[in-house]
Subunit: 331 residues, 2 copies
């Protein structure tokens, strides 16, 4: 009961933050200046969102990235972060906190408060506060209209492939990816596998693309966390529209397809319902195209008819809202 | 992988919320109107902050109360809540959510977003956003001055006594407190025990007192979460002052003292370092007294000399900053 590891750790945190808002850590709550704000909360729990042994520094980066992706989908400017962290007694909180501080700083985000405790497993919840992009507006899920074009901000399916590899014997230790020998020996497959694992562990939130969308006259967006098909259903539901998605337009590299074939996985399943892609799915009026530098792909259209259809090899089928269900029963 | 228990539960939540901001749940982040805000985050983890078998409805109420207490200490008006919840697969999330919805509604708070998952133990993180009290200012820890009077908003030590009883055989099931037979048989002790357990399970955040403080010319405050002595040290450190605390002034009922004697516990230890009291410790210029209706007690003074002293039975000693350390190693 002696005082107080918590106070000492908080003191250390304030020193890390220098002037940089460290003042905000002295009270029972953090004071933020007058502004319209977008707020999002995500958590990452060992054994649920990531394997128990994963490097806490990777967990910290991933936690921030996943939250940033939500703000990107709102076209928001990331500003403040609040952390609730619990970790097992034998785990050093500082490596997690240092990685989070570095990642927040890189993203222009100020760590403005939090709550620390010891708990049975590493469990971290991040609340992120975003502001309006200067000269922009909020991007919503509900502002899509029939005949808008549907765009993807990046590749889908790779992250799920990376998760599959990590569950099947690949590993990430001391900042290095270890592949099973049979995979490591083929240079092309090994490159694809490393890329997929990196994509899974280090999502790349599309904040710049979100800023660009915020400055358009009209755009609707969602970040793909639970799978393209499920998140497309969500966007369409909020906008009161349907969609046609062209499977042939989905961006997939030959390497990704080769690795799927080698693993006997269907690429389209991963692309449609793998989840944790953390790139943006968005709609724009047909007259507007995102700048080439964002690497977006035109993958379909919104429709007045409420059906959500997949166009595949000349055929058409209803696209089921399949994806990652956070409430499914896990081991 | 079928879609999606999560979407169904979110739909249910939106229905519970009616018009009441349910609109905010449709996007990747919640949009809040332009305002200065105070933000606080707290978490409650089974086996760490409460016993594993505790009724999820109690956990929900307690989580909100603990957070509200932080806002009370800032003199803030509670407005929005964001929840990150994970619970074991065999546990019904709805009873937790229903209790939280009721408690937020009672407090005038809107549940504006969240993140749900299955996890190994019940773990809930609440982010609470408060606004400025009309005509008021923020209350800080740093605005205390020498010769200010030091006040306590409620009794201290009872919550720790309640925790001690729950760890030692008392129980709370189906909204009823069960006491060990030897305690249940003495009416006076049993009443004191029930009161202490209620105080521990259902903290009573002093939002109204916080509002009143926000309208004063000057006040400093902190909520006592980790123990009077530790939190007094924090208030003094932020204000750059010392303090004299009069042990004889601490509000304690005869019943509380009798129960402590029966349990062979030192009341002063519980009062000074028991923690989880969730009442306010605050300072005011000597000319201002809180209204009688808030039940506050004048317990000391702030001093120019930086020492923090306990006046006890005519003697004086340095008050150590002892209390609840969230980072201490637990079982």
């Amino acid at each position: 009961m002696s005082s107080s590891q918590e106070d000492r750790l908080l003191q250390w945190l304030r020193e890390q933050l220098h002037g940089d808002g460290s003042d905000r850590l002295g009270d029972d709550a953090a004071l933020l200046p007058r502004a319209e704000t977008a707020i999002t909360v995500d958590h990452q729990i060992a054994g649920v969102h990531f394997p128990t042994g994963l490097d806490p520094r990777v967990v910290a980066q991933r936690l921030l990235a996943v939250n940033l992706s939500d703000l990107a989908a709102m076209g928001a400017e990331p500003r403040y972060a609040f952390l609730a962290l619990s970790s097992p007694p034998d785990q050093d909180m500082k490596s997690f906190l240092q990685a989070l501080l570095k990642a927040t700083r890189d993203a222009g985000v100020e760590l403005a408060g939090g709550d620390l405790a010891r708990g049975p497993v590493l469990s971290a919840t991040l609340t992120l506060v975003g502001g309006k992009v200067p000269g922009g507006r909020w991007v919503r899920r509900s502002t899509g209209e029939p005949e808008d074009r549907l765009w993807l901000g990046g590749p889908v399916g790779q992250s799920a492939l990376g998760r599959h590899l990590l569950e099947g014997g690949a590993d990430f230790q001391n900042s290095r990816i270890q592949l099973p020998p049979e995979l490591a020996s083929d240079r092309g497959l090994a490159t694809a596998a490393r890329q997929a694992i990196r994509r899974h562990l280090f999502p790349d939130p599309q904040i710049d693309l979100g800023r660009w969308l915020a400055r358009r006259r009209r755009a609707a967006a969602i970040d793909i966390s639970d799978g393209l098909s499920l998140d497309l259903h969500r966007l369409c539901r909020e906008s009161g529209v349907g969609a046609r998605l062209h499977s042939a337009s989905l961006p997939a590299t030959t390497r990704f397809l080769d690795l799927c074939a080698w693993l006997q996985l269907k690429p389209l399943d991963l692309e449609l319902s793998g989840g944790e892609d953390y790139c943006l799915l968005f709609s724009l009026p047909a007259t507007i195209r995102p700048p080439h530098s964002y690497g977006c792909t035109h993958v379909g259209e919104l429709t007045r008819d409420r059906s959500i259809l997949l166009i595949e090899g000349g055929g058409v089928r209803l696209l089921e809202p399949q994806g990652w269900d956070h409430l499914r029963t896990t081991e």
